[in-house]
Amino acid sequence: MSGGPSGAWPLWEVFVRSRRGLSHTHAGSLHAPDAEMALRNARDLYTRRSEGVSIWVVPSTAVTASSPDEKDPFFEPSADKPYRHPTFYEIPEGVQHL
């Protein structure tokens, strides 16, 4: 299909909320001519087996991503600070989605 119309169509990132109370999570990406069609394509591609109750589509160009070159200054400093991790207390029974 490369070289077909999909090559000229913009790319969209798809976020699906699987259940009420959960947040939208990234499901994948797809090509579509506009947002309305992207939403419909997302419905067909990512929620056919009842995976979702809500969909967001976002133009991929609107996503600003961190660069692999910045990995060390971005993420490494957090590795040696265990006091930031909530590991010093017991989680009460029955707490979900934590």
């Binding site: 999909s6 394509n41 056919r48």
Partner: protein, 233 residues
């Protein structure tokens, strides 16, 4: 049951036609969309044909003249605009019909109540493409116009009363035309003016008279089951 066969064959035949796009659709996303619609229709066909008899026997062992689908659904896929025009005409009709059958409480009410949600999506899909093709480029507009006109003569048959469906066909037709007109206007297209009934119109599928390409479609659909009866995997 005449009505179960008529409605079941509509769904089965259109499902097979849409399935022919697999591997050929203009883009991957659209291929999945069409296959999705085809599978919805196949599910409806299975329920309806099971009301009329053995679903496999009815689908795979009947001759052409025994099929009761309207001629619209057996028309070849053509270009993408033809597929969308066929879908727009049919899904708009099917949604209105199923709404009425669901309310009517007859033998088809449970199926119709469930299927009408699927069909609303099919209609929505066809409308969105109609808007984009009609109000798109000069070429897409022209192709959509040609497709709407060439399939127009098959639409009169949709409103021939089906024995066993307690539906007011005249108001169904009025609602269909109103819905279609509003979509085509927004798509900068016109409702075709050609004949839909009478000597110059097509449509005797409900009586078992089908168009030329239908035999070839059936041959492909049925050959596996006929060559290997009862095969499973």
């Amino acid at each position: 049951m005449t009505a179960a066969l008529a409605l079941g064959d509509d769904a089965l035949v259109l499902s097979h036609r849409l399935g022919e796009w697999a591997g050929h659709a203009p883009v991957l996303e659209e291929e999945v969309a069409l296959a999705n619609i085809a599978l919805d229709l196949l599910g409806q066909a299975r329920v309806l044909l099971s009301l009329a008899g053995d679903e496999d026997e009815l689908a795979y062992l009947r001759e052409e003249r025994a099929f009761r689908n309207v001629q619209l659904v057996e028309q070849p896929n053509g270009d993408f605009a033809h597929t969308i025009a066929r879908q727009l005409y049919f899904s708009t009709y099917q949604e209105l019909l199923y709404e009425r059958l669901a309310r009517g409480g007859g033998p088809f009410a449970p199926l119709a109540a469930k299927a009408v949600k699927e069909v609303a999506y099919h209609r929505d899909h066809a409308e969105h493409w109609t808007l984009r093709l009609g109000d798109g480029t000069a070429e897409s507009h022209e192709r959509m116009r040609v497709a709407l006109e060439s399939l127009w003569r098959f639409t009169g048959e949709l409103f021939e009363p089906v024995e066993g469906c307690e539906v007011e066909w005249d108001t169904l037709h009025t609602a269909w035309l109103a819905r279609l007109t509003s979509v085509l206007e927004r798509a900068t297209l016109a409702v075709p003016e050609g004949p839909r009934r009478g000597a110059w119109a097509a449509g005797a599928g409900r009586q078992g008279v089908h168009t030329e390409s239908f035999g070839r479609m059936l041959a492909e659909m049925q050959h596996l089951h006929r060559s290997h009866p009862g095969a499973t995997w």
